[in-house]
């Protein structure tokens, strides 16, 4: 039996992941509801003053997005690891980095993209000035893939551990620091009427770097977890 082409394998994996996600719709909604709840807690905690909320809006929305992306990360490879699918994927002869990339892309489409779509609502809740909203959406579009890419490395490193969830957050949160700084400063700059393209450009550069490096690190971590 000959090996299927790279693209065939990639799309087959992506299709399978979508099907799995669609059959577990309720699970899919949890991180989004979590996102809404976390953002709701802030006005309750710091007070409903519109000016105060507008000041902290970029940070709050981004931190909530960060937490909501990490939440489903723990299960990124877990079920495939437990039922042996992951081993079969390694044995399939396809490059493991490509398999990881398909999995990461699926994770972003079901966990990252909905956050981008929800962000205008969050901006209204947090009283973010109109000038900041397009930049917030842009920063989330190019920033959330970085969350998925770097998070996948942590997920692959902790997949063979029984209680990997807390450890996963400890591993990946420090790595998210530059992204958080750049994204929130881009939104704040836009609100203040300052140029923000530099920050967005740096996030984009970070995304491209993560896109090229993270699948290989994830593949190495998966091999290690299976050994």
């Amino acid at each position: 039996m000959s090996k299927p082409a790279l693209s065939t394998a990639f799309w087959a994996l992506l299709r399978r992941d979508f099907l799995l996600a669609y059959r577990r719709r309720a699970e899919l909604l949890q991180p989004l509801v979590f996102l809404l709840v976390v953002v709701t807690l802030f006005p309750l905690g710091v007070g409903p003053s519109p000016q105060l909320l507008a000041n902290i809006a970029p940070g709050v929305i981004w931190i909530a997005a960060l937490l909501a992306t990490v939440l489903p990360l723990d299960s990124l490879f877990r079920s495939d690891y437990e039922d042996g699918t992951l081993e079969q994927m390694v044995l399939s002869g396809q490059p493991l980095a490509l398999i990881a990339l398909a999995r990461i892309l699926a994770h972003w489409l079901v966990a990252g993209l909905p956050i981008v779509l929800l962000s205008p609502l969050l901006a209204v809740w947090m009283n973010l000035p109109d000038a900041g909203v397009p930049v917030l959406i842009k920063s989330l579009i190019i920033g959330t893939p970085v969350l998925s890419l770097i998070g996948a490395i942590g997920a692959a490193l902790t997949v063979s551990l029984k209680r990997g969830g807390q450890l996963l957050s400890l591993l990946v949160f420090p790595l998210y620091v530059p992204l958080l700084i750049l994204a929130t400063s881009a939104v704040s700059a836009a609100v203040a009427g300052l140029p923000y393209n530099g920050q967005l450009g740096l996030i984009l550069a970070g995304m491209i770097a993560a896109l090229t490096l993270a699948p290989f690190a994830t593949a190495a971590a998966l091999k290690l977890s299976l050994s």
Binding site: L157, L170, L171, L175, L224
Partner: protein
Amino acid sequence: MNRFMLFFHKTGSPPWFYRFAGKLIPWLWVGFAVLTATGLYMGLFLAPPDYQQGESVRIMYLHVPAAWMSMMIYGMMAVMGFIALVWRIRIMEVLTISSAPVGAAFTIIALITGSLWGRPTWGTYWVWDARLTSELVLLFLYIGVIALYNAYDEPRKAARAASLMAIVGAVNLPIIHYSVLWWNTLHQGSSFSASGSSIHPSMLWPLLLMAIAFKFYYGANLLSRARLRLLKQDHRKRWVHELLVQESE
């Protein structure tokens, strides 16, 4: 086989490494003790107080070398971890994970001495300044590596996972540093550059002595930890038995 390759292969063998490290450790401790005694005497008694900061500047002789060590050890971990992953040398795995607690300790020392120094000079124990923040993030990275190692049951797999995490962290560390630097800064810049230093020799010498002394400490502590870890991992192997028989005689 040439002499270098022979040495290289020998260091990869646990019994040889155990004996070699055992001979080296006392000398490293001696170097550490002599350099620390000289460096501290010069720093605490001979060096002049700063014309602005007064006596509090003497914290520098602990703070700056500790901060240097915290970064150097993380870099060492990434390099040794890379070697461990690529060539699967067990000694390197052991050295990588044994470096982590020492590096974390130096990071904590740098943070504590820094905050004690910040109180009289900046008027506050803690600010969200670039260097302080990246040092704190570095501490979290160290803790992550140690926690990942402890989470695994099998020591070799654990060490390889920790090595990979150290490499991922090392790739991110410069990005974290520059992003935080650009975010907010109060800390003075580095007083050292390729063209020379802006510190007077009377203060520079104790600082450099302390920096070298800390490197000796790292070497001694690292090798002791690595020896102990090897003994624990190999406690059923023959060389450990022979060693125990030898030592009890």
